[in-house]
């Protein structure tokens, strides 16, 4: 499973701490869902990985953040961390996540069974597929 293969970076800096030291080039930055996206977009060339924290299962802001990052041309790793849950992974992959960190106890072996259960995709998103009519 590609999503699980990308190794965790050795150092991840929280976004606010990163800003406090004027955002030098780093391996990975972790943002929360309320991040100022316009500001983040100005800094994306300075990090190889952006981790988006899902603080709760119901919080879907991270999906739009990933989508906007990919649309802006961000080519680094976008990793979902926090309350990820296997049943959301297929949608995460579609909007542009290419790495995930599963909760404890969620067997990575479940993933192949769950990913892409629904293969039909009606909409355009970040995964290179056009809308169904294109």
């Amino acid at each position: 499973m590609e999503l699980l293969k990308k190794p965790q970076p050795s150092i991840v800096i929280d976004y606010d701490d990163w800003l406090a030291i004027d955002a030098p080039q780093v391996e990975a930055v972790k943002v929360i869902a309320s991040v100022d996206i316009a500001q983040l977009l100005n800094l994306i060339t300075r990090t190889d990985e952006i981790q988006i924290e899902f603080s709760a299962f119901a919080d879907g802001r991270g999906f739009s953040i990933a989508r906007i990052l990919r649309r802006a041309g961000y080519g680094g790793v976008i990793r979902a961390v926090g309350d990820v849950a296997v049943d959301r992974v297929a949608y995460m992959q579609r909007v542009g996540f290419d790495a995930i960190e599963l909760k404890d106890g969620e067997e990575a072996t479940l993933l192949p069974r769950l990913l892409g259960h629904v293969k039909v995709k009606y909409q355009l998103s970040s995964d290179g597929l056009g809308p169904v009519y294109a």
Binding site: I37, F57, A58, D59, G60, R61, F63, S64, I65, R67, I68, R71, A85, D87, R88, A90, Y91, M92, R94, V95, R113, L114, H117, V118, K119, V120, K121, Y122, Q123, L124, S125, G130, P131, V132, Y133, A134
Partner: protein
């Protein structure tokens, strides 16, 4: 009627398998309650007072006779032999077993039906004018656009975990039969000066505990940009809508807090970035979807028409013709309203025998098409005048020929405390008593058109805010009491009702309605002045005095 192609069919089949797997894992304890809750909600399943409730999508209210028979079969096989049509044109089953729901969905997938996004914090099943494609006052058929929206929103990866539910309604007529002003997004089909089709876009309407009439954020959106504009609105809402308080999480609160202009600017900026991408609808796709809604093979006016229909000497039939039958855009045809307002069952309920029988009548007299309305009725939309009398007999035999369309007893009503775990008060007992008290059709006709809408809690599934008479059940000190509002409207001139006064005890509800009606009858200027017009003209004061004055005298 849209017919699935292989891709559409594959999607619903795969969704059934996915949900079956999720449910099996939940039943084995492999998915936590909270997590499964969100997964099942996205597929139309609530856990209610007595049992799970399954809400099946009837996208924009359109069904074939084959689908209606399949719904009948589901109610017979897995439930108690009836279904309940909702105020969002969908149908609910109140007694299925959770473990059997995947089988129900598999059965429904065989007739191109599903429960995708009929609940949950996602883009809900799109609603529309039940008279789309047949209404005499129509600018353009809304159904192709509804289907395009249905496909775009189905399993949209970015918008499955919104701050709160999200409802879109579309109308293609000047008269608003889709209540677009009380939806998160309302779309009105309009033409620009060049005569090109587009949409007026409203945002931020809604009922619930903070009722708000939607505001226009774009006067004209070219049709090809429909999806990119919707996507821009949804993205702004997904990022900025409140998530700290579920009562303040709907888009209407965001729009109100930011101001509609500031919100529109954010949407516009986002839209500029995506409007010229693949989200732009190709002409070929619009044509492909529209071709599914081509006019049926109408008979000529000579063959279908029957000018003497008004002179058939049968009083009951003539009353039905006057009240339940509407004009059609095709000469020689009529639209037949089928109220699901049986005095002995909750508004919107229909038995499996009635579903099967109505499916047969639809095949015989209405090109196999049946529609559901947001006031919990059904419609046969393609009836030749020459068939009206026979059809009326057929409907009467099924117990579906009651000529009360548009009258007081054609009320809408949520299921209330009897079924719903959110409700604070019973509502079905009210509809039962109202039906008992107002069973004289001539009296109802004399009252004219009155929309009575009843909700059992502040979530307002019964749309009480936009009823001419609205009733909201609340619990006070362990007792169920009811707040009245007057002067609401769900029409193109949508308006929120104003509170009449202090709450009314359950056993006084019918008496209160009677006083309100008598006040109207005494104060109207001639029989033609409707209830809504009188409230508009004289305000609530005379009604307040009549209701609370009388109550005080009774108490003394």
């Amino acid at each position: 009627m849209y017919i699935y192609n292989e891709i559409d069919q594959q999607l619903v089949d795969e969704r059934v398998n996915q949900f079956r797997d999720q449910t099996q894992r939940f039943l084995k304890g492999e998915i936590a309650d909270d997590e499964y809750r969100m997964l099942r909600l996205m597929n139309g399943i609530y856990i209610q007072r007595h049992a799970p409730m399954l809400r099946v999508a009837v996208p924009y209210g359109q069904m074939t006779s084959v689908q209606l028979r399949a719904l009948a079969k589901v109610s017979r096989t897995y439930d108690k032999g009836y279904g309940h049509f909702t105020t969002r044109q969908n149908i609910q089953f109140n007694w299925p077993e959770l473990a059997q729901i995947p089988d129900i969905l598999a059965d429904l997938a065989q007739v191109q039906m599903h429960a995708i996004q009929t609940s949950g914090a996602c883009i809900r099943s799109v609603t529309s004018d039940p008279l789309a494609g047949v209404a005499a006052d129509e600018l353009a058929d809304s159904r192709p656009w509804c289907e395009i929206i249905r496909q775009w929103s189905s399993l949209h990866p970015e918008f499955a975990y919104l701050p709160r539910k999200f409802k879109i309604a579309v109308t293609g007529s000047k008269a608003d039969r889709a209540a677009v002003q009380v939806h998160d997004i309302g779309l009105r089909i309009v033409h620009n000066i060049q005569g090109e089709l587009g949409f007026e876009v409203l945002v931020g309407g809604g009922l619930g505990r903070t009722p708000i009439i939607g505001q226009v954020i774009r006067k004209y959106l070219p049709a090809k940009h429909l999806l990119s504009y919707l996507e821009a609105i949804l993205r702004i809402y997904n990022l900025h809508g409140r998530r700290d308080n579920k009562y303040k999480a709907r888009i209407k609160i965001l729009v109100k807090a930011m101001g509609v202009d500031a919100f529109a600017q954010l949407v516009e900026a986002e839209w500029q970035q995506i409007k010229d991408t693949d989200l732009q609808l190709p002409e070929a796709e619009i044509k492909r979807v529209s071709s599914h809604f081509a006019k049926p093979y109408y008979l000529s006016e000579q063959e279908a028409g029957f000018a003497q229909v008004n002179s058939i000497v049968d009083g009951d039939f003539q009353r039905w013709l006057t009240h339940n039958v509407l004009p059609h855009q095709q000469p020689g045809y009529r639209i037949v309203m089928v109220p699901l307002k049986n005095p002995l069952s909750p508004p919107g309920d229909i038995t499996h025998q009635q579903m099967d029988g109505l499916a047969d009548l639809a095949d015989q007299y209405s090109f196999g098409n049946v529609r559901s309305t947001h006031d919990q009725n059904l419609v046969l939309a393609y009836v030749a005048e020459k068939d009206l009398y026979e059809l009326w007999h057929g409907l009467a035999d099924l117990g579906l020929g009651r000529a009360n369309h548009g009258t007081l007893t054609d009320m809408i009503n949520c299921p209330g405390l009897d079924y719903c775990s959110l409700a604070n008060a019973e509502t079905l007992v009210l509809s039962e008593r109202i039906n008992e008290a107002f069973d004289d059709l001539d009296y109802l006709y004399d009252l004219g058109p009155i929309e009575l809408k009843i909700s059992g809690c502040i979530n307002a599934c019964g749309h009480h805010h936009i009823g001419h008479i609205g009733i909201l059940g609340v619990e006070k000190g362990g007792k169920q009491v009811y707040q009245f509002t007057l002067g609401g409207s769900d029409s193109e001139a949508a308006q929120l009702g104003k509170t009449l006064g202090r709450s009314i005890a359950q056993d006084q509800v019918v008496a209160t309605i009677t006083i309100i009606l008598n006040t109207y009858l005494a104060l109207r200027h001639g029989n033609d002045e409707t209830f809504a017009q009188v409230v508009q003209r004289i305000g609530l004061l005379p009604f307040k005095e009549a209701v609370y004055g009388t109550a005080q005298k009774t108490a003394a």
